[in-house]
Amino acid sequence: MHTFTHQFFELTITGLVLGSIYALVALGYTMVYGVLQLINFAHSEVFMYGTFATAWVFVFFDQTGVNSIGGEIGFLLIALVVAMLVSGGVALLLERVAYRPLIKKNAPKLIALISAIGASFVLSEAMGLRDRIAAWFGLEDNLGNYVGNARNNYTMPVQINPKGLFTIGDYTVTDIDVITIVAALGMMFALQVFVSRTRFGRGIRAVAQDPESAALMGVNSTRVIQLTFFLGGLMAGAAATLYMLRIGSTRNDAGFIFGVKAFTAAVMGGIGNLRGALLGGLILGVAENWGSAFLGSQWKDVVAFVLLVVILLIRPQGLLGESLGKARA
């Protein structure tokens, strides 16, 4: 209790930082759900591929011993773009291989879930066996820096030490904190604008509202679904870079728990609702930290899930309700 009141700001701000990463990943769940009413269980792996892409960029440039973000900002931007593209690409692949054949057959939702679980295993294991896959092509030595530690923690070769910027309460806010929150909010804002203002965005909303009418109005639903997956992937890639900035290491099963949390955030905020994903993510991040302070960190996940159940019981449609179709800026 003493810790909690004493360090309220630190717990809250670090919770918000983590929560904004949850929120970015949650967007992918929420958008796919809004359009297809499918829980894209493999989205966690889309995020995981982004974390590796980020690390690979730094391995490629092999910048060591840089201590400030200032010196790294260029590489960071490159990593961000690459991670977003990689995650977006994986999401597109996922849509093509695991979902489109089922959507075409108009299969029951449950079977799409099985396909997603299968795809999730495949993606995660492919990353965990990347050394062996590289060996097929005789590349395990050339690519050693990239495919090494296949089943283990894969770390960034650089060490980015945060710098304190200003103090709130007892807590010194660092540049990483600021970058994470600002970047996450910026991404989300851009997505909102895209969905609400552009032609593509209108397509997404039309399909989310009423797929049949949208088809009659000439919206190419396959294109819209692809775009939805891709956008979700981009957001997950951005989340991955921010995650690596803070955590610095990843592994082939890093997506699983994180994905479950992000999905929880999406449902909490009201699945299908973009701003709901943000709200859900932030609440989840903060609640986890507060819960850890009160009860001990081992109860962190329990706090998260209990909160979810309570929110759904009080507001079955989530905090902000479901409304990808009605998304407005």
Binding site: K105, I111, L113, F121, V122, P211, W299, L308, V309
Partner: protein, 394 residues
């Protein structure tokens, strides 16, 4: 569950339906049917003794594998009540498996010292009760959200175990006793009422493997086959109960609720009550399987009851054919058996498993053995759709 798909009858499926027709013809004759079923049941019991080529796992003890397969089949039949009959997607089913196992562990060794056979019904009752307690708030949540809420509960159950000293925490509970032996209890390989020799296919004349016998019925730590017989017996009892319940007002209410919840409600079906019932009955079967797992393994720890297992259970039911008890059971057997049969894939196992799930989902979306009537209804639907020519591409 309201979307359907059409069928393109392939040569294979035509052959299969011809086979089914032939089988159906055989089964129409009552004495033949009884005889066939009897032979089938004897075969199932004898399976781990036969050492059949191809089927028998080479790297892992086949009795142990068969026990797991039967345990998973039992779980799948239980989960099928929830998913297949009532149409509720439960991603936290592993929680009930854990509750069954832990109730057994706590009652038989950790805090009390009850005999297993006394603990078993209590474990089932406790699991059923927990199903009611968890179901009452969650089942009011809308269909799609139910998945994440149940997933959350499954994880909460595991985390509570990990963090609660009274439940053995991460260390788990060991020395869970086996069921009482029937027959003399001599130490070592002996004991049991009599010994059942295994078969051996290696060298033709020595087809009976006298050096390798299973005592009947001695539940020891070095032979899993008596445990297998026990769980298969439980499986058949559950299947009979499942048939009786499904084939009654209760089963109709489930099916109606799954097909159209609003319409069911307006036809006087108290849908919430029946969903809760399905949840509790499914939980009870999961708990039963968990109790058997605990006594067979002798040791339980939260590391077993991972979220991943829930996904696997759901995959078993859906891959096998949700709504068809035999399909679900087959899915359970498949999911337990194949990893042990294909141990030679070693590191690639999980990857291959994922690919297999995707392939099955895409090529056989209705499951390997979908319920017959679902198939018929779907075919009719497809026909109507074709006639109306209004296939709206979503």
């Amino acid at each position: 569950m309201n979307r359907y798909y059409d069928f393109a009858p392939s040569g294979l499926s035509r052959g299969w339906s011809a086979f089914r027709g032939w089988l159906g013809g055989l089964l129409d004759n009552k004495p033949t049917r009884v005889a066939l079923i009897a032979v089938g049941i004897v075969f199932v019991y004898a399976l781990p003794l036969l050492n059949l080529p191809v089927i028998t796992t080479s790297g892992v003890d086949f009795g142990g594998v068969m026990f797991d397969a039967a345990a998973y089949a039992l779980i799948a039949v239980g989960l099928n009540i929830v998913i297949g009959y009532a149409g509720l997607l439960d991603l936290g089913y592993v929680g009930f498996y854990a509750i069954g196992a832990y109730t057994t562990g706590i009652l038989t060794t950790y805090h009390f010292h009850w005999p297993f056979l006394l603990a078993l019904p209590v474990a089932i009752a406790v699991t059923m009760l927990s199903g009611l307690i968890l179901g009452a708030p969650t089942l009011r949540v809308r269909g799609d959200y139910l998945a994440i809420v149940t997933l959350g509960f499954g994880e909460i159950i595991r985390l509570v175990i990990v963090n609660t000293h009274w439940l053995g925490a991460a260390q788990g509970i060991d020395n869970i006793p086996a069921p009482p032996n029937i027959g003399p209890n001599a130490p070592g390989q002996g004991g049991g009422l009599f010994q059942v020799p295994h078969l051996s296919w290696g060298t033709f004349p020595n087809i009976i493997d006298v050096g390798h016998k299973t005592p009947f019925l001695k539940f020891g730590p070095i032979d899993a086959i008596p445990f297998y017989w026990m769980i298969v017996t439980a499986f058949f009892i559950v299947i009979i109960a499942d048939i009786l319940v499904k084939n009654s007002r209760v089963g109709r209410a489930w099916e109606a609720t799954r097909e159209d919840e609003d319409a069911a409600e307006l036809m006087g079906v108290p849908t919430f009550k029946f969903k809760l019932l399905a949840f509790a009955l499914g939980a009870a079967v999961g708990g039963l399987s968990g109790a058997f797992y605990a006594t067979r393994n002798g040791f339980i720890s939260p590391a077993t009851f991972l979220l991943l297992l829930s996904e696997l259970f759901v995959a078993a039911v859906i891959v096998g054919g949700a709504g068809n008890r035999w399909g679900a059971a087959f899915g359970g057997v498949l999911v337990a058996y194949l990893p042990d049969r294909f141990r030679s894939f070693s590191d690639w196992r999980m990857l291959v498993f994922g690919l297999a799930l995707m392939a099955l989902a895409i090529w056989r979306p209705q499951g390997i053995f979908p319920p017959r009537r679902t198939r018929r209804a779907l075919a009719a639907e497809a026909q109507i759709e074709e006639l109306e020519g209004e296939a709206v591409d979503v």
